[in-house]
């Protein structure tokens, strides 16, 4: 079972990203449960959502406290909350950022990092910083949990229409293509 935690800010579509990912995983025959965290979601406030998937049935409907993977679709939310809280050893971290790896601080437990300047891509595609679909591409590229084709199918089934659908498919594609994956060698050494 893989446990994934998605971080973002209210209004960016972290919950939607979780649901699209859940659909894509389901299409690939996985058992999956996505649970959003819940509260009074103000625009801009930090939010998280949780996703589990497995080859067998998932019974528990609980939050995730020790994720295998972090997907962070906002460049700055890490300053507001400790996104690395509780992560497992050798965890994967997929982050939207314009910075390069050396400029970033992160938990020592992280073994793989996928970086994508999703904000820039989003401005390019949408004219504003909607990063969720782009970062699903980044996730696929970094983790290999899910195929790009399954994500594309999930996006096509969702409520996007016409130009919006095309933008999101482009966003997914560019996220996938423009992500740089780093394997943190020293972790293994440590």
């Amino acid at each position: 079972m893989i446990e994934l935690r998605i971080h973002g800010r209210g209004g960016q579509g972290a919950v939607l990203a979780g649901n699209i990912l859940a659909s894509a995983l389901a299409h690939e025959g996985k058992h999956v449960v996505a649970i959003p965290s819940f509260g009074f979601e103000r625009r801009g406030a930090p939010v998280a959502s949780f996703l589990r998937f497995d080859e067998k049935e998932i019974r528990q409907f609980t939050n995730i406290y020790a994720p295998d993977c972090l997907l962070c679709i906002d460049p700055t939310v890490g300053r507001a909350v400790n996104i690395f809280d509780g992560i497992k050893d050798d965890a994967i971290w997929v982050q939207t950022t314009a910075k390069s790896l050396p400029e970033l601080q992160f938990s020592e437990k992280i073994a793989t990092v996928g970086l994508c300047d999703a904000v820039a891509i989003a401005r390019d595609i949408y004219g504003r910083s909607i990063t969720n679909t782009i970062m699903l591409g980044a996730l696929a590229r970094t983790t290999g949990y899910v195929s790009l084709a399954a994500l594309r199918a999930a996006i096509e089934e969702s409520a996007f229409r016409d130009a919006g659908l095309k933008q999101n498919l482009d966003a997914l594609e560019r996220g996938y293509q423009e992500t740089v994956v780093h394997n943190i060698e020293r972790r293994a050494a440590a």
């Binding site: 859940a22 058992h31 999956v32 649970i35 089934e157």
Partner: protein, 405 residues
């Protein structure tokens, strides 16, 4: 959202609220009345969208409050309509006056309670306190464990409610937050097969407001002496009989569902790994999945633990639960609500009543209030406490699971 109805594959990925909305669509209800409240709002939004899209041919009445929600549907049911709504928490409280009246009129309505803790302290998050507060009003109450059970049970609820031996309203309860918003894969039954399963609707054969069948509905009944109170007693007794009849009907309907759709859900109480169990957990709703995982882990450690999930809570399947729990040495009942009068959980009280002929010790655990998570770790604690109880066999205090999270 990302819900699509396609011939193949015949599943959708959706959250619990949407699963309920799909069930309502498949049941081809005539009327829904809605008023939004967290965490139910998206459920009625899905219904409104289904109706706006023409996917569900029902009348939707957007009213000014929950009190009217149920009142509109009472009128519609008396006119012959199959009806649906959903509410929770303060909305359910505001609805209480017509809610109280529905079972007495034997109206076979179905209402989801997307369970929410009650005020106060002010809270918008999950908990069973709302549904538990109305447990003695005369509605059948069925709790769901997961998304698939929400869809399947909501459809089955119509057949249970409309059964001529029952004719009572049904609450299908699913947990606010943990089921309402959790997304997963849900199998969609075929619409025509659902129609065949439910059969011809006939909801007002016994009481109607229909100019073609003039009658006085619910005239004053009772008074000091004379035939009035006797008539009232016969109505009340009949209503209680309808509740008892529903136990068999619920089993029969679940069996037929399994036959037709290949999915079996325990109708009254599910026994999980109880065969040689010495300790038993009793659970209700979405907490059960984590509890089952905790049972598996305990079993792996060598503890003989089992679990009884209560699905049908009202009428209370006392006989069934007593049978399942009969072999164990101790029972821990986990409630997501409290009984203020007894300083314990209400399901615990019911369990005690079911066990009254045995001398099995039981304890009350309360968790998951106001959106709190009950994890495998919490259940591990419960199992430890239960083991201790089995050993000591003396009364223990209520265990408040999330007090120090």
């Amino acid at each position: 959202m990302n819900a699509v109805l396609q011939p193949k594959p015949n599943y959708i990925v959706c959250d619990g609220n949407e699963a309920a909305a799909w069930a309502v669509s498949l049941a081809q209800v005539d009327m829904v009345a809605v008023y939004p409240i967290t965490p139910q709002s998206s459920l009625v939004e899905y219904l409104a969208k289904f109706i706006a899209d023409g996917r569900l041919g029902a009348e939707i009445v957007d009213v000014e409050g929950e009190h009217s929600v149920l009142s509109v549907l009472q009128g519609a049911t008396l006119a012959g309509a199959r009806t649906y709504t959903a509410s929770c928490g303060p909305g359910l409280a505001f609805m209480f006056e017509p809610y109280m009246r529905t079972p007495g009129m034997r109206l076979p309505m179905v209402m989801t309670i997307v369970t929410r803790d009650t005020l106060t302290p002010q809270s918008v998050w999950g908990g069973h306190q709302d549904a538990m507060s109305v447990r003695e009003v005369g509605w059948i109450q069925i709790y769901c464990e997961n998304l698939q059970e929400i869809l399947d049970t909501t459809i089955m609820a119509y057949r249970i409610a409309e059964h001529h031996d029952v004719m009572l309203p049904v609450n299908v309860c699913h947990d606010g937050n943990y089921l309402s918003f959790a997304t997963g894969r849900v199998e969609l039954p075929d619409a025509a097969e659902v129609a065949a399963f439910l059969g011809q609707r006939d909801v007002n054969w016994h009481v109607a407001l229909d100019p073609d069948r003039p009658m006085a509905v619910d005239p004053l009944t009772g008074g000091a002496g004379g035939p009035g109170p006797a008539l009232f007693v016969r109505y009340r007794k009949g209503q209680c009989q309808g509740m008892q009849n529903s136990l068999a009907v619920i089993e029969e309907v679940h069996a037929d569902w399994a036959r037709r759709f290949g999915r079996h859900h325990a109708p009254l109480v599910e026994a999980y790994r109880m065969d040689d169990a010495e300790l038993a957990l009793v659970t209700l709703g979405s907490m059960t999945g984590a509890a089952k995982d905790a049972v598996d882990e305990a079993r792996a450690r060598g503890q003989k633990v089992g679990l009884a999930k209560v699905k049908t809570y009202r009428p209370f399947p006392a006989k069934k639960l007593a049978e399942i729990l009969a072999p164990v040495k101790a029972v821990a009942v986990v409630d997501r609500s409290v009984s203020f009068g007894w300083n314990c959980g209400p399901l615990y009280q019911d369990t005690l009543a079911a066990l009254q002929a045995s001398n099995i010790p039981a304890m009350s655990c309360i968790g998951g209030l106001a959106g709190a998570d009950i994890t495998i770790t919490h259940f591990a604690r419960v199992i430890e406490a239960c083991a201790e109880l089995a050993e000591k066999r003396s009364p223990v205090d209520t265990l408040w699971l999330n007090e120090h999270d």
